[in-house]
Structure formats: structure tokens, C-alpha cells
């Protein structure tokens, strides 16, 4: 089903707390000596000289890495089709896994006792978790070190966890959390996530009225979940995230692409990854390497991202997007004054078929990220829990205020049961 890229031939069985599990890690997280390509042909054959901090921590806890999980090239995509080896949804091979952490979600669905370390920039954990029917948790920005994570958009990238059960996310979060002096954006905040869950009864959950446009089957599953929550003594409140509904997509893509286009500059076939025709002059050399080995979506984001930050346009696009991001975060913060967390469907539909997404234009695909982008833009912790019991799965997404990860996990666990 193509959910793995490089496999670790010398994998050791996990010990200690992780005994009995196998662990995969999204291919944009560096594993020493094990090929790491971020799903891109341009990094083919690249074996990092160091382990990412999360990998160090997993190894220190007795774990080992089984394989690198498939992904859209550099995280650029919502269906994991922007890769040279497209993974299939384990529930229906004619359907996508979702993306960009498609390999992680598919592996967890397909393999028993498997946990995958994934990464989300704009929804790349929640989206495939929803499509594959597994749990996908994205912590507050800064709780998990990004050292060794191949950058897509540094101010938005967050390492997280895909698993079958919330309990497993909690266990893994206890292992990978913590401030890291090698990542200046990591923050000092540690918690015991495995302690007893919070009582959800009496909590107020907000449902953003702008986030309810979804397919009939997803809508029904969501409504069913809401009524179950109500029956358990949870208060449901209708809230508004109007600014996010209108502006989070352009804001997210402007910032993400601007940062991405600088991050991708280093891939020129000079010191790592593929090598081109070395008889060419420098400019021609890197042009040839980048033309040949970057996929279309990577090229599209380099062009758009560069445009948005060029003199004459920067003020209008990049700078403005930074200012709007603050407004959008403020809007979430306002809602969190009234509710414990925000809930809505993770994706507006079940996993689409390959032929359905093949002909979608990029803009239509970007629009599909609407429900996951706001939380990601603000660095808010969120989790997607399977909510649809019959047919193809769909997730419900729970978003909490900054550092309220434990609350988000508790609500997730409650819905899961």
C-alpha cells in the first residue's frame, strides 16, 4: 500500500514503555543513517548525519524506528498524491490516504500496535487521520522540538502523533515533549499526559457555525456525536470564527509558501541528495537539478512564495498575512474565553477517490483545508478522533487554547469511548 518509504533493516524491538509497538516516522524527520527524503526526489539517497530530537528521545525510551512514513513532497498536499510512490487508503485502495502525513495514518490503520510520528503545518496530521479512521494529535506549537524536522514553514510546523487510541498519543507525548536548546522556538512546558483524564461532563464545547459545511454523511456523523456529548452532560455552544472562515486559507498559504520558498532554496544538488550534471556552470547546474527533481507542487509553492515576498509585493502579501495571522489568533482566543474547546468535523468529506482528486485545480484543493488551517495557523493544540462508525471513516476535530493539550486529549478520549 506504499505507506512506507525507507525501511530500517536493522530495527530492534522496542523495549520499556514502548514494548510491543512498532514505530514509524514521517519522512521529513531526520533519522541518522536512514534515508530521509521528505518525500522528495531531490533528497533521494540522503542519509542524515544526525537524529532529530524526537528520534533521540524515542531511542532513549527504548524505542526504535521501523520505517519512514510516506508523505506529500515536503508536506505540500492534502491527499499524499504529490509523491513519486502514492500510498493507498487501507480501507479502500481506490481512495487517498489524505495528507500530507498519509503514510503515517495508513500505517497506523493497517498495522496493529503501531504508532507514527507525524507532522502538521496546515492540517497534515488531522486530515489523513480523518480519512484513515485513526487518531491524529497535533500539540501546541513549541511543545515538541523541531530540531531535525525538514522545514516546510518553520513558524507553522509541528511534530505530532498518529495512533489508534488517544492513550497511545498520551504515552508518546510524554516521551517526545520538552524544551530543546537546539530549537529556539521550543518552549518550557512539560506535563504528565498519562495522568487521569479530565472530567468532560460540565465542559462547554463551541461549534463554529462557519465550519459546518460538509457532506451529508459527515454532517450526520457530527450531529450524532454532538447529541451523544449533550447526553453526557457536555454543553454545546454555537460560536463564530468568521474571520478565520474568510481569511485563514489565504493567510496560511501566503505565510507557508513564503517560508517554504526560502527553505527549499538549499536543495540544489550541491552537498546532499541527488547530483546533477557536474559539467554545468553553477546557475545552470542548480537550475537543472531543481527542474528535474522538484515535483510540480513544490515548484508552484516556490514561485508563489517567492512572489509574495518580493519587493513591491511583500507589503501587500507577506507582511499583511503576518498581521492578519495575529487577528485570526485573537479570534480563536476570544472564543476560548467562552468555551473549553472548539469542535467541528476534521474534513468536510470522507476520503475521496484518486480519480476525484486527479482533476481538481490547486485552488480547490487548498480550499479543502479550511477546517484544519485555523488551528494550525494559530499553533493551537488539536486532535482528530474517528466519529463515523459506519462506512468510510471521518474525524471530529477538537481544538484547545495554547498549552491546553491535556484538555484536548481528555475530550478526545471521552469521544473515543
Amino acid at each position: 500500500m506504499n505507506y512506507f518509504l525507507a525501511k530500517n533493516k536493522d530495527v530492534k524491538p522496542c523495549k520499556g514503555k514502548l514494548k510491543g509497538y512498532t514505530i514509524s516516522v514521517k519522512d521529513n524527520i531526520c533519522t541518522k543513517g536512514l534515508e530521509t527524503t521528505a518525500g522528495s526526489q531531490i533528497l533521494k539517497g540522503y542519509k542524515p548525519v544526525f537524529d532529530a530530537t524526537v528520534i533521540e528521545k524515542i531511542k532513549a525510551s527504548g524505542g526504535d524506528i521501523l520505517a519512514k512514513a510516506n508523505m506529500d513532497e515536503f508536506g505540500f498536499g492534502s491527499f499524499n498524491i504529490n509523491t513519486h510512490k502514492v500510498p493507498q487508503n487501507p480501507l479502500d485502495k481506490s481512495r487517498v490516504t489524505g495528507g500530507s502525513s498519509g503514510g503515517s495514518a495508513a500505517a497506523v490503520k493497517d498495522l496493529d500496535n503501531h504508532i507514527s510520528i507525524a507532522e502538521s503545518t496546515g492540517g497534515s496530521i488531522a486530515n489523513p487521520a480523518s480519512f484513515c479512521g485513526v487518531v491524529g494529535y497535533t500539540p501546541t506549537y513549541g511543545l515538541v522540538s523541531r530540531y531535525g524536522l525538514i522545514d516546510y514553514a518553520n513558524s507553522l510546523d509541528k511534530i505530532g502523533i498518529v495512533s489508534r487510541k488517544v492513550r497511545e498519543c498520551k504515552m508518546m507525548m510524554n516521551i517526545i515533549q520538552g524544551q530543546d536548546f537546539k530549537d529556539s522556538t521550543s518552549i518550557k512546558h512539560e506535563e504528565d499526559y498519562e495522568k487521569k483524564s479530565l472530567e468532560v461532563k460540565g465542559m462547554t464545547l463551541g461549534v463554529p457555525k462557519e465550519y459546518l459545511e460538509a457532506s451529508k454523511e459527515v454532517k450526520e456523523a457530527f450531529e450524532k456525536t454532538i447529541s451523544q456529548l449533550k447526553s453526557k452532560g457536555v454543553k454545546i455552544k454555537s460560536v463564530s470564527l468568521k474571520k478565520n472562515a474568510n481569511y485563514s486559507i489565504p493567510t496560511y498559504y501566503l505565510i507557508a509558501m513564503s517560508e517554504a520558498s526560502t527553505n527549499l532554496a538549499k536543495y540544489s544538488g550541491l552537498r546532499y541528495g541527488v547530483e546533477g550534471n557536474t559539467n554545468l556552470k553553477y546557475n545552470d547546474y542548480f537550475k537543472q537539478v531543481r527542474t528535474e527533481y522538484f515535483g510540480d507542487e513544490a515548484k508552484r509553492r516556490i514561485v508563489l512564495g517567492t512572489y509574495a515576498r518580493m519587493a513591491g509585493f511583500r507589503e501587500q502579501y507577506y507582511d499583511k498575512a503576518l498581521r492578519v495571522r495575529t487577528l485570526l489568533i485573537d479570534e480563536y482566543k476570544e472564543v476560548f474565553k467562552e468555551v473549553d474547546a472548539i469542535i467541528h468535523p476534521t474534513m468536510p468529506m470522507v476520503a475521496p477517490r484518486f480519480e476525484e482528486v486527479k482533476n481538481l485545480d490547486p485552488l480547490a484543493i487548498y480550499q479543502m483545508d479550511l477546517l484544519t488551517v485555523g488551528a494550525n495557523l494559530g499553533g493551537f493544540p488539536h486532535i482528530s478522533i474517528p466519529m463515523k462508525k459506519e462506512g468510510l471513516p471521518a474525524g471530529i476535530m477538537i481544538t484547545g487554547n495554547h498549552l491546553e493539550d491535556f484538555k484536548v486529549l481528555s475530550i478526545g478520549e471521552h469521544i473515543e469511548n
Binding site: 542524515p48 544526525f50 530540531y147 518553520n154 518580493m310 519587493a311
Partner: protein
Amino acid sequence: MSILKIKIGLEIHVTINTQSKLFCSCSTKQSSPNTQVCPVCLGHPGSKPVTNKEAVKKIILIAKALNCELREELIFSRKSYFYPDLSKNYQITQFEEPIGENGFFESKGKIRIKRVHLEEDPASITRTNKTLIDYNRSGTPLAEIVTEPDITSSLQARAFMKKLLRDLQYLEVFNGEDVIKADVNVSVEKSGFKRVEVKNVTGFKDIQSVIEHEVRRQQKEEVVENETRGWDAAKRKTYSMRKKETEADYAYIYEPDIPIIDVSKFLGVKLPKLSDERIKDFIEKGVDPVDADIICMRKDVADFFEKTTSEPKITSYWVRRELLRVLEDNAVEETFLDAKEFSKLIELVEKKTLNENIAKEILELMRDKKIDVKKYVEKNNLKTLNDDNLIEETVKRVLKENQKAVEDYKSGEEKALQYLVGQDMKLTKGKAHPKKTNEMILERIE
């Protein structure tokens, strides 16, 4: 003849002397190529920059010494361009919000400082038939200092750079031996002050040459254009690189891997005395202005002079002539020289208990090992021979043994006297009281 009106602005790059690089813990020490490197300064995927506090403190000192308005936040940006010396194909620098702005620096007039900021140096490139890249330099901290076009001559530019580098040494942020690089912009009245920028000029001699060359060129040319030029150091001339319309666009964004750094707690740092103040102090102590200037060229030497206890004017003479001679290229700290002992040595000479030439020899020894001057003179029996009888005895012997020289002197050869004194010194191992010896020889010949 009317006076030529010229406007010159400098954009100077100075290496800040930190122990480790700006964004990683690699050493900044000289080493064989590509040995002081790590995933961060090589730009490996997944590596992240971590800001060096020492560099932050030092850039604040620089901005403060240049009388800049300081920001309480240090904010980095990414400057994008493709060049083989850049490991990431972007440079981490400061753009919209430099740490210091609107300062000034006095050097033969007030020169306004537009901005001061902190950035990382790219790798160094050697071009043979291949292009060789040494990443040891990649990520070394640089201070960029940009002046307004207030400099009006190549000589003023040179004086400005010299004084700037001197003060950077006083701030202990710059190693004297590092080369300085600058982009030089020159414009002349004849062209309506069209701005021409010459990129990447190394060393102050070339900076001066570039200015002189550009002024000549711009005066001669019919039409001067706004443009960026390069400097061919071998041919000693500038050449056109690009015209204004194709000005590079670096498409800056904020560096998202480094949060804004609150530097307010560092802003109160007290500046040490800089060269002008030190020169003034020394002149007040009675030192000749020229000597004070020479002594203050080097901070280690100025510090050494300040610690001496002997009479300032005489000591300044010894520092300028003898200390600088024995130091050669070494810093005072690299030798055993001690200001207190140095003063004792001078005092012995002044009291005529030690001959000057012997003192100079002792000074050379003091460079290489710890010496207690008084004990050393005592132990090695080096005191000046002051006893008239002893002096007379030696003089008699010298005259007797060198009859020919005595005759030569009498027949008018002045040099013969020096020879006789020299022979006397040889016998006394240089210890004979020079004046008395001289007088006694003359007395006896004539």
C-alpha cells in the same frame, strides 16, 4: 581651481571575535578547510539556528559606541540569493529592524551612521580552475556598519576606517588581524551625485584606491549611471556589474526559526574608554600627542602604558620605541611583559644605575620570561660602573692597547673615539658609565 565635491558612503563588514559561530557551537578558530563545521553551518536539512549571546552583546557594544539609537528587540530576517558560498541559499541577517540606527562617529568631522546590524558570514570561496568552498567561515558573526554619504575624501575614508577598527579593538569585539571588507559608494557633483556602489572591496588600501579611481572615472565620463560595480584588485580598476533597473531583490522574510530576542537587559552596558578618550588622558599626563596616538593604536599597548608607574613622558618614549620593537606582532598578553617591572627598568636607567643598552637587552628577555628586574641586575652584576678609579683603570688599559686608534683620533678621525669607547664597553661588558668614560678618554688623549 574649485574644490571637488564628493560624497562617499561605506558599508563595512567586520568579523566579531566570538568563540563560536553566530548560530551554532562550531569554533571560529582558524583551521584546515571544512573542519569547523556542523549540520547548522552546512545548512543540512532539519538543522536549526541558535543565536550566540556573546555576538548579541558585542553588536550592542558596537552600535552603542557608534552612538546609535538601540532597539530592545533583536529580529533576524532571511535574505535570499543563490550563491555557492551560502549553505542555505539564504543569509540570516537583519533587515527592517536593525539593532542600531541613526548614530554618528567622529573622525575628521562627524560621520552619520545609518545602521548597524548583526548577520552571518557566508563560506569562503577560492577560485582556481575549480571553485573551492571552505565552510569554516560559514556562520561567523559579522557586524555590518553603514554610514551616510558624509565622507568627502579618500583620506577621510581611510582615517575613518582606521579609527573605527581601533575603537572596535578597544571594545574587544574585533581581532586586529582580521581583514575588513566594505561596499563603497561614491558620487560626484558633476554627475548630480549619481550613486555608484562598488561591491566587496577588501582592506583599507583598496578602499582608498577604489574611491580615488571612481572619482577620476566619474569626473572623466560623459554620463555616470546609478549602478553597482565590482573592483578588479589586480587591474586596479572598477567594472560594471549591474545597472539600477536590475537591482537585486532579496525578497526578505522574517527568520521563522528564531523568535524575537529581548535584548533590553543588555542595553545598559557601559562602554569602555575608546581611543580618543585614552589619547586625551595620556596627553594630560604629559605625553607628546604623536606618541599618545601611536601608543593608542593598539589597545593592549595603551593598557600596558596605563599600568606603568614610571614618569609618563619618559615611559611613553620607551613604550613607543622599545616596547613596540620587542613586541613585534605579539599582543602584550602573549608575552611575559609586566608593566611594573618595565617601569622599574626605566627608573634604573633614569637613576643612571643601569646603562640604556643593557636595559634594552633585559627588555627582550622580559618578553620571553618572567624577570624581577632588580634581582636580575643584582644577580648578574649589571649595574653601571660608577667608581671613577675603576673607570680610569679601564680607560688606561684601552688607550694602551689601542695606540693606533688614539693616533687616528689625533689626526682628526672622529670615528676613532667611538671605537675606543666601544672597546671600553667590551671590557666592562657595557656597564661603564658612558658619559664619564667618554669624558675620561677625551681628557687623556688631548
